[in-house]
């Protein structure tokens, strides 16, 4: 062993020993629970659409005529891309964590032809906007999209979580040929952790022996082309429409062999001169593997310049909003404690009659600390004790309380975020 080898070993060993021997299994449990919820949310909308709409619907939709269309771009060779005029523009849907027994049927508005997106727990919630249709080499791809409102899940604005922590959109591609139909979909994000381009990978037509890879990709502003290179070396590219591209290739996939799906597809966004604007990958499910940056810090933000006239009294009043078991408050008290109780009566009905009734009735929010952001707004840290829940309840959460109509009240956004744990979504 050389002298420098020895010095490296000694320095690294000394440095490593400065990390104390400690574990946090409870913290790990919390993270696993939260990740499970987030993944469920990210894929649930896509899955429900695929489940309820089904290949047959996609087949029919792919062949329905008579819609308003306007050509805006023509690809080379056998490619044709058209953008459809979607009535009502891009809809916004809320992406709750709710898991309901009710899955509303997907359908088509008879007057507009718009596809509808069924939401878990919330029934039909607005149309999916038509994005574009791409025809290439006998493959017809009809693309739909919606904006996703995940603000309740993301928490207060001052938490400032990166854009890849929660999806802000949803895209769906109905793909059909003369032999097969299928749907591939995925979440969209305002920014991605590893580059400006990313997407969802899917495979269709495997059972029919006519397999195709499909990538639903999101591209950065200014991208002239997005290119995907598929596992067997084929590539496909197109000009993104409003930051969205759907890329396809024929595939050699055998039914039943799941190992063949353990793959990713490299993507590259190109500028007008063919230069790379960045790279990324498309993965099955398409959701981003989030890291610690998506676990909000339990630290409260700094206090605002303005403070309540009597901070101690305000704090005492705010603390009264917490600490009481759900079932020990009347419905009127629950509603009166929310800054905007519009429609919340139904939410409490759902909570008290849903699958998690026992957990809801026995739950209790526990106040930890607060900081006044202004004379009428405070940031609070609290957690929720839930009987029969992993680790006894949630980890610390940050929220807001607001001074409304002469008293301090819980923010509707926080309540809506919390009730998602019990599979209930706010209107």
């Amino acid at each position: 062993m050389s002298e420098i080898d020895d010095r490296i070993r000694q320095s690294l060993a000394r440095q490593a020993r400065s990390v104390p021997e400690q574990t946090d299994f409870d913290g790990l449990t919390n993270r696993i629970t939260r990740r499970h919820r987030r993944k469920l949310q990210a894929v649930s909308v896509a899955l429900v659409m695929a489940l309820v709409a089904g290949p047959a619907f996609g087949f029919l939709a792919g062949r329905r005529g008579g819609e308003q269309e306007s050509d805006v771009a023509i690809g080379s060779g056998g490619e044709r891309v058209t953008v459809e005029d979607s009535p009502g523009g891009l809809p916004t849907v809320s992406l709750g964590g709710a898991v309901s027994d009710t899955l509303a049927a997907a359908g088509t508005d008879p007057t507009t032809g718009a596809r509808y997106l069924p939401l878990i727990g919330g029934g039909v919630d607005g149309p999916l906007a038509k994005a574009f249709v791409r025809d290439i080499d006998g493959i017809s791809i009809r693309v739909y999209r919606a904006a996703v409102d995940s603000s309740a899940e993301a928490g207060p604005e001052w938490q400032d979580l990166p854009g890849w922590c929660f999806p802000n959109g949803y895209a769906q591609a109905d793909v059909s040929t003369a032999d097969i139909v299928g749907i591939v979909s995925g979440p969209l994000y305002s920014e991605l952790p590893s580059g400006p381009v990313g997407g969802s990978l899917g495979a269709i037509g495997v059972a029919e022996g006519k397999a195709h890879w499909v990538v639903v990709a999101q591209a950065p502003a200014g991208a002239a082309r997005v290119r995907a290179t598929f596992p067997d070396g084929q590539s496909d590219e197109m000009e993104p429409i409003d930051g969205l591209a759907v890329l396809v290739a024929r595939a050699s996939l055998e039914p039943g062999d799941m190992s063949q799906y353990d793959t990713t597809v490299p993507l590259v966004a190109l500028d007008e001169n063919g230069g790379s604007l960045g790279t990324g990958t498309a993965t099955f499910g398409g959701y981003v593997e989030t890291g610690p940056e998506c676990y909000p810090s339990p630290d409260l933000p700094p206090p605002g310049e303005e403070q309540p006239a009597d901070p101690d009294a305000a704090r005492a009043e705010i603390e009264q909003l917490f600490g009481v078991k759900y079932e020990d408050r009347t419905r009127e008290e629950h509603l009166a404690n929310i800054d905007d109780p519009t429609g919340m009566d139904q939410v409490f009905d759902d909570l008290e009659n849903g699958s998690f009734r026992t957990q809801v009735l026995g739950s209790r929010t526990v106040f930890e600390d607060l900081v006044f952001l202004s004379a009428t707004k405070a940031a609070v840290r609290y957690h929720t004790e839930i009987p029969n829940f992993a680790n006894g309840g949630t980890g610390p959460k940050l929220g807001e309380v607001n001074f409304v109509d002469g008293r301090w009240k819980l923010s509707r956004a926080d309540v809506c975020r919390d009730v998602q744990l019990a599979a209930v979504t706010c209107p």
Partner: protein, 184 residues
Amino acid sequence: MGELVQEDGAARRQKGVQDVAPLLEVRIETTPMVVEVSKPAFADFYRATFTEMARLAFLLTGSVETAHDLVQDSFVRLHGRWDRIDEPRAYLRRTVVNACRSHYRRLSVQRRHSATARVENVDLGADEMIDAIAALPYRQRAAIVLRFWHDSSQAEIAAALGCRPGTVGSLIYRALAELRKVMP
């Protein structure tokens, strides 16, 4: 109350496959909000390896807090694949090394996108050798830490870094050359 369900490997891989989507319908309706995570083997493995991995991540990031975060997150990922991983220690080591690399990439993106991005509090101490190692490009640093602190074999380092074994030799050679240059 839905029954406890854990996604198996096949189901996870099938999420993008339209042909098997109906299998997932049942999972959606029964997926619980309570996740069972305390399988004895996993918990034992966690307690036996956490500190080692936290120290590895610390040597790669220079921050105890970040190291704990990244390692916890690596265990979260390991938990999701626990039933189908034969060598969890190797998988975990690779995940931690990748997480540390991703951490730097994310910091870079965050700084580009947000003027208020938090600045990493790196505390590498007063050891000049440690500072010199910290200044190495990430893959060289990881190779040095795995070789000289973790006593990993060339094949193990290659697996952790996702490169060929021959590349590991090159990374270590170049790292040592740099360290010899900057260290008296």
